[in-house]
Symmetry: C2
Subunit: 467 residues, 2 copies
């Protein structure tokens, strides 16, 4: 590690580099005259910078995202979450940016334009935004792209004033500050969170065009916090306690009733996400994590836990978040998210440039535990092949799968099917509707975990279909 | 999921909330008059907002970080990586921020002030910045706080123009764009990267005061990319090939020679970090990941791989990144990072408020595989106790450990000791110096993996010591 500002390069290496650079420049000149590969469209901005003064970014989302502060032609602005820097003709010929120029907290590259897409609800406070699953790699969701679902906007909370009260059927009611919670031993686990409304537009007919729209209400993070079991030991529970009301500090004062058994099994009072404080949209400074259960129960901005012998029958578990069945009755407290999977490449609104090799890839998950296996079909479910795992399967976490496909150029229908460690197999839409019916406002609403179909036409275009 | 803007709250719930809010306000008024717990100092900004118009942030780093754009008194600015928002007196009484107000890519809370600390090298281009290990939770490093080590600044690279050339002793030299690489099956794994210079100031005497300074050149991310083995199959290797030169596209044109055996075993050409594109400081758009090997070999901004039958003897493996031994000879190609651990709480510059329970916690890692066990001592290594793991140990990844400690208020010396799955035990500094000597410019320079000692004095102050 040198402490001097001089950059001394070995002459032989420099000569070699110069030769390479000349070859690279020649290659790049050739490459720029070629037609861009349609297959990779959308991975990078379409309007590539051709000079320093005409730097324009395209919207990153195929589902219709509007970039706040997006550049108009000729302006030098970066997409959300990035800083703009000039692009040198040859980065080896001039010094880069200094260490610390970002103030000590880094941001993504200006060339990365993917954003969450807000579903066009009547207002922006009771709304949701969806993760760009077609752009995400691996199985962790970048914190800045974690899906959102808010019922009264995102509150701004000072963590030094925030408290969580634990009371009701307990030996001693107590309140805990975030600093108090950080004095307990912590646990860190990777879990997905999926909104039970993920796919609500897709029951009756294929509606949203991209995988961000059909499946973007799932994200995966590493969560750090204190197990509720630790808190329970601290306060002591009364024998009659059987349910816990969890309440948020947002304008909706979101409340859900959770069986005590689940709370003691694996619930976490989480103050950390992906190594740092939980993000404001995800409940800063404290969120209840209920591994594998519907997202709505993971109460954000958590400020109160009340122990009781029965559920509280709040609005969000009576008029909302119940499942109307075919016979007109409704299922209540359908907490567990069943096994599900989706192909993210190729997926809706993409276009394959022509016959040849494609690495089909996607995500699979189950609220019941580990994903056991994923199968892929290219003929609408007539034939199934086992996919491989590109990430290590972990309990109640997304796993990245892939399958090598040699496309012959004929129309094809791509599907994936997840089996979890309990033996549960992801159903077809027909199988699901046979049980659940389709007599709700969107057909049904919640807990759509059916097999997704993407049609590839002979021209290579990919679209959302029911098959 | 409602589509209407009306927020309807159950009257009973509202009444209950009002009662709670009154209780909470009373409690908060009491709490604000109490002396802040010295133990939690540094976890939150010291100058808490007392009104909307006097919002000041303190520097987040105990190691002397200067916040770029930090607020002067009375200004309303957020720390790096955050947006400023007004704090409502009661977040349940007014709507929060709308979904999408951030442009679709979120940022951290304005109350989170931790930053990377730049080591004060003579210039800012050939320099490094250190992760705030005392602030990080779990075992993943937030992408914005991943340590940096640059030899010629951070280049700005357009990914659509970037190529990696693979040539030399191969059957067919090829160049790959990022889009080309994304067409191959990917792999995603969590690995730490540690600079071999981590701790270089600590050989002779304790120098830097906080754990950010002594150990902050280690970070952990999930990396996604194409195994080099896949590329090797694509191009075909000549039988004589035994080494690979990896070259970066920065102003330093960083180059290192890597044994082919390692490249084929587990090297990844990584374009992804924590679910999104690799960050600019970490090599955007492409970095070589060499699991468990010294950080310098993980070539950033990767643009060339040359196969050869011998190492290239570049500057960074001859005049730098070698280990001068006690006998005056130097070890070369000391790639593997040995087992190491450090207590992050309590650690240097913290102060314990008084005798009582403390959850000692820290990080352990090994470049050779999984961490097998971690022991903790509170008496300078005379007695050792097994620590528990708060995260699941994974190969070549940091694991979070903890140990419950009832401090009696007397002077104590805290240590942690890591044993990896090969049976290797983290040495004391004396054991390490007996082999390595201390005749380099800083005593020695690289590969300091000795046991770290933190002295707790009777007044609760914690400091960096050699014990």
């Amino acid at each position: 590690m040198e402490n001097t500002p001089t950059l001394v390069l070995n002459d032989n290496v420099r000569r070699l580099i110069d030769a390479i650079v000349i070859a690279e420049q020649r290659h790049l000149a050739e490459r720029r005259s070629e037609e861009a590969c349609a297959c990779t469209e959308g991975m990078f901005p379409r309007n590539l910078p051709t000079s320093r003064r005409s730097f324009v970014f395209a919207a990153g989302s195929t589902a219709g995202a509007v970039l706040a502060g997006a550049a108009s032609a000729g302006e030098q602005k970066a997409p959300p979450g990035a800083q703009f820097y000039e692009v040198p003709a040859d980065p080896t010929k001039e010094l880069g940016r200094p260490v610390g120029a970002d103030g000590g907290y880094g941001s993504r590259s200006q060339f990365e334009t993917e954003v969450r897409w807000r579903f066009p609800t009547a207002n922006e406070y009771t709304s949701w935004s969806m993760s760009p699953l077609d752009k995400i790699v691996g199985n962790l969701t970048p914190s800045g792209l974690h899906f959102e679902r808010h019922h009264g906007g995102i509150p701004t909370i000072d963590p030094s004033r925030h408290m969580v009260f634990v009371h009701g059927m307990v030996q001693e009611a107590k309140k805990f500050s975030i600093a108090d919670l950080k004095r307990f031993p912590s646990t860190t686990r990777k879990y997905f969170i999926e909104c039970s409304g993920n796919g609500l537009t897709e029951w009756v007919k294929p509606t949203l065009k991209s995988v961000q729209g059909t499946h973007g209400l799932i994200s995966t993070s590493e969560w750090t916090g204190v197990p509720f079991a630790t808190i329970a030991r601290e306060i002591g529970l009364k024998e009659s306690a059987a349910w816990v009301l969890a309440e948020g500090a947002d304008a909706a004062v979101m409340t859900r009733s959770i069986p005590l058994e689940k709370m003691l099994k694996d619930a976490i009072l989480a103050y950390g996400q992906n190594g740092e404080a939980i993000r404001p949209e995800q409940g800063y400074p404290l969120r209840l994590i209920l591994p594998g259960w519907e997202g709505n129960t993971h109460i954000k901005w958590l400020r109160r836990l009340e122990l009781s012998d029965k559920p509280f029958m709040t609005r969000e578990e009576t008029s909302k978040y119940t499942d109307l069945m075919a016979n007109g009755k409704a299922r209540q407290f359908t907490f567990e998210m069943e096994a599900k999977s989706v192909i993210t490449f190729p997926s809706g609104e993409m276009k394959l440039p022509g016959p040849g090799f494609y690495n089909i890839t996607g995500l699979a998950w189950s609220g019941r535990g580990r994903v056991q296996s994923v199968d892929v079909s290219t003929d609408a479910g007539k034939t199934w092949y086992p996919a491989r795992f590109d990430t290590v399967p972990e309990p109640i976490s997304t796993v990245r799968f892939s399958f090598p496909w040699l496309w012959d150029g004929k129309a094809a229908t791509l599907q994936s099917r997840c089996t979890d460690e309990t033996g549960y197999v992801q159903p077809t839409l027909a199988q699901l509707i046979a049980i659940r019916g389709a007599n709700g406002p969107f057909g049904s609403i919640y807990h759509l975990n059916a097999i997704q179909s993407w049609a590839v036409s002979a021209d290579g275009s990919v679209s959302n279909v029911h098959a």
